[in-house]
Amino acid sequence: MNDRDLPAGLTTLDRPNSYIGRSVPRPNLERLTQGRGQYVSDVSLPRMVHAVFVRSPHAHARIKQIEAGAAKRVPGVIAVVTGAELVKVCTPWVGVLTHLKGLKSAPQHAIAVERACWQGEAVVAVVARSRALAEDAAELTEVAYEELPAVTDAETALDKTTPVIHPDLGDNLTFERTLDAGDVDKALKESDAVVETTFVFGRHTGVTNEPRAVVADWNEGAQRLTVHHGTQAPHMMQNIFGKHLGLAEHQVRVITDDVGGSFGIKVHVYADEMATVALSKLLKRPVKYVADRIESFVTDIHARDHRIKARLGVTNDGRITAFEIDDLTGIGPYSVYPRTSGIEANQIVNLVGGPYACPNYRARARVVFQNKNVMCQYRAVGHPIATAVTEGLVDLAAAQIGMDPVALRRKNLIADDAYPFGSASGLKFEKLSHHASLDKLIAMMDYERLRREQETLRARRIHRGIGFAAFIEVTNPSAAFYGVGGARISSQDGATVRLDAQGAVICHTGVTEQGQGAEAVIAQVVATSFGVPIERVRVITGDTDNTPYGGGTWASRAAGIGGEAAWQAGKALRANVLAVAASILQAEPKALDIRNAAVVDADTGRERIGLDEVARIAYFRPDTLPPGFQAELMATRHYVPRAWPFAFTNGIQASHLEVDLDTGFVTLLDHWVVEDCGTVINPQLVDEQIRGGVVQGIGAALFEHCLYDAQGQLLNGNMADYLVPMAEMPDIQVGHVVTPTADSELGAKGAGEAGTAGAPGAVMNAVNDALRPLGARPITQMPITPGVVLASLGKV
């Protein structure tokens, strides 16, 4: 922590109103526990109508004819609109970034024009006075299709005999990246053992409890568009709504109140949401669209559908010599706008082998088009896959050379005193704590006792496993993530703080609240840096008319970037208020401080004047201030990381579980996490981010899977057939090592994705640890269903 602007004798943690490192409850929870939230699905406006969509039942089909006459005649139906009609209001988009060289995609429309490219793509919009009426009319809309060959298997998507989904692009290759660092061939040749396998990760999705929702309100008289939108990135959406509807950004206001779960699902441009906004412009009245659960499964972005062939070399004394991967992923028919669908594979290439000091690494990743729902960035983008591949290989190697998996990790994890460190893939680590984290984890879980217990229970035919997963996590991205590729996605964020007329502090921030606790963290930071009890800070988020320009919430950036901006803004306002107080008191500003909502003598802490009185004089009796002195009771600061393109956090997880050899069921017993997110602003919120993230990772490991057939039909697109973790999860113990980043004064790095990054690998390794003595074939696919377990045992 940098204390350079703090009063002498006080560190940040000593300040009377320091909330850094304290588990302060979130200010918005009473509202939510009483059902007084304001989610977009709750929004209702005068003259509002409801949109529903007729969607393609085919994975790939030409739209021959749309017969909407009967639908239009239903009383209460306002409009039935096709893609060809809507393109006059909303231009198509192409999801590419220039820094992902060679990445290509085709124009995507708000509603399909001439052709539908996945099962679930919207083909016709029906707008009516109620959703039920609109659904009635949708059923009367007849669409004649000519089915086209569907490209569904990523393995054959690049074959010469496979149809090209977008003929203008020449082939079905979206993006390819290769990397070759060190000398992999030589390293493998000199290894005592090379383990080699293929990992298969099941496509899954976010399943936010509140489906995607948007209420668009084009006001023809004001020539302004207001969009109530359940999004993570209001300013990004403001830009995109304006760009594709032909409006200046200042004509567009995006309001984001409560959001019922995001996890990366709600940070993308969705065709049906663009269509809803365009329909409002077309019809000159508010239009609401809320996805139903079936629509969510076929249109919310999917993620993680990767097949990775992987190799690792190791010497008999446990030195890892090389990693090699070949990744293939199918991302649907379009690269998603504007973040693209190349990032997940790119991250996997970046992150494989990341915790280890191994200079030899070769990777290839190919991203291909297919006629399935689109894939894009979901919580911990690429990390769960890279971690599971890396840690799966490490455990296979440990078994191969007969070494304890902890000992093998200890021998190869980047040393805690080796920083700054450059990884084989080119990542730059400021400072990580792999060994301190591992040591802490081993102590927390009482590893030796668990191993003894495992042996004892095995004799009683109880088969338990222990699995580890060390990980790194990208946080606090600079413009290197999206901005340099041409996307108007802000990496900087701003905070404005002002003193109200009674001496309370209002903070407007560009980061958004998705339930992770950003409002609490911002309030803690401002209360601390300005000097008031947290009850006197009110945080305003999610409104492009009323917050500084910012990126919103993604890549675990809210605390690290938004928090630092708020920290600096609070300090700036303190200086401004002290200047006013000094002029009232005829004192030197440096001799004063703000503590507990009063201006005090910095040395003695004696109260000189209350903030309410400072505000009263500045706002209502400025005539009593010295001539030429102008009080400035509002201050804005912005922040973006500059010294490092990304912050990296690190940590390690362990899973303890039991496998039933007869049924294949896995029972999770314990889960431990030690992670290092730098400065911990609110320990409770960090722990709950970790726990929630772990359970989403467990979902990937054991349950969640979007099952498609060979024709591109999603077979389990409902909540009864698509399994998510239910309450029967293990307790999750969380520990911390604290290595702040020196790039900011706060030193916070971010914690939103660490849990999800490590959990799948830890669970997979634990299952294999349980089954290994039985001679089972190592499991390298997810989700690990009972059928997968029984197959590995040779029972089915």
């Binding site: 526990t33 039920a132 409890n209 509140e210 989403q696 309450a727």
Partner: protein, 160 residues
């Protein structure tokens, strides 16, 4: 669609409305009465976010039709909050951060309250089993179980 006139008590107030036979209870509460504290998650009875009390028993608002509630008593999170009956649970959920996005929370609270109304201190496993029909995608459930357990203990301590 033919409309049916129904009379029911919602949060202690008598309500008389005409509803379509197909209108679900949760849509009726949200769209007709403006009680948006009950949420819609899956509309096929799996996720539990629409849970409300019907004659004191927690039911799925998406699997119950409004016409079925004619002559019955419905209580939603708004009514249960205003009565103060959930105050200790709500406060413990707040201090334990047993909610993140809050979308599942009203239903989770009603379900937890039903479990706690039995009067004993359930085991963590029993709490998890009772709540397993209410999906939470944010918390991983640990904090929710902590909060429910803490309230059970506090209530037991207060009565013993």
């Amino acid at each position: 669609m033919s409309a049916h006139e129904i009379t029911l008590t919602v949060n202690g107030e008598e309500v008389r409305e005409a509803v379509d036979a197909r209108t679900t209870l949760v849509d009726f509460l949200r769209d007709t009465l403006g009680l948006t504290g009950s949420h819609v998650g899956c509309e096929h009875g799996v996720c539990g976010t629409c849970s409300v009390r019907l004659d004191g028993v927690v039911v799925r608002g998406c699997l119950t039709l409004a016409v079925q509630c004619d002559g019955h008593k419905v209580e939603t999170i708004e009514g249960a909050s205003d009565s103060g009956a959930l105050a200790d649970l709500q406060e413990t959920f707040r201090t334990r951060n047993a909610l993140q996005c809050g979308y599942c929370t009203p239903a989770m609270l009603l379900t937890a309250a039903e479990l706690l109304a039995r009067g004993d201190v359930p085991s963590r496993a029993a709490i998890r089993e009772y709540l397993s029909g209410n999906y939470c995608r944010c918390t991983g459930y640990h904090a929710i179980v902590d909060a429910v357990e803490a309230v059970a203990r506090a209530r037991a301590g207060a009565t013993s």
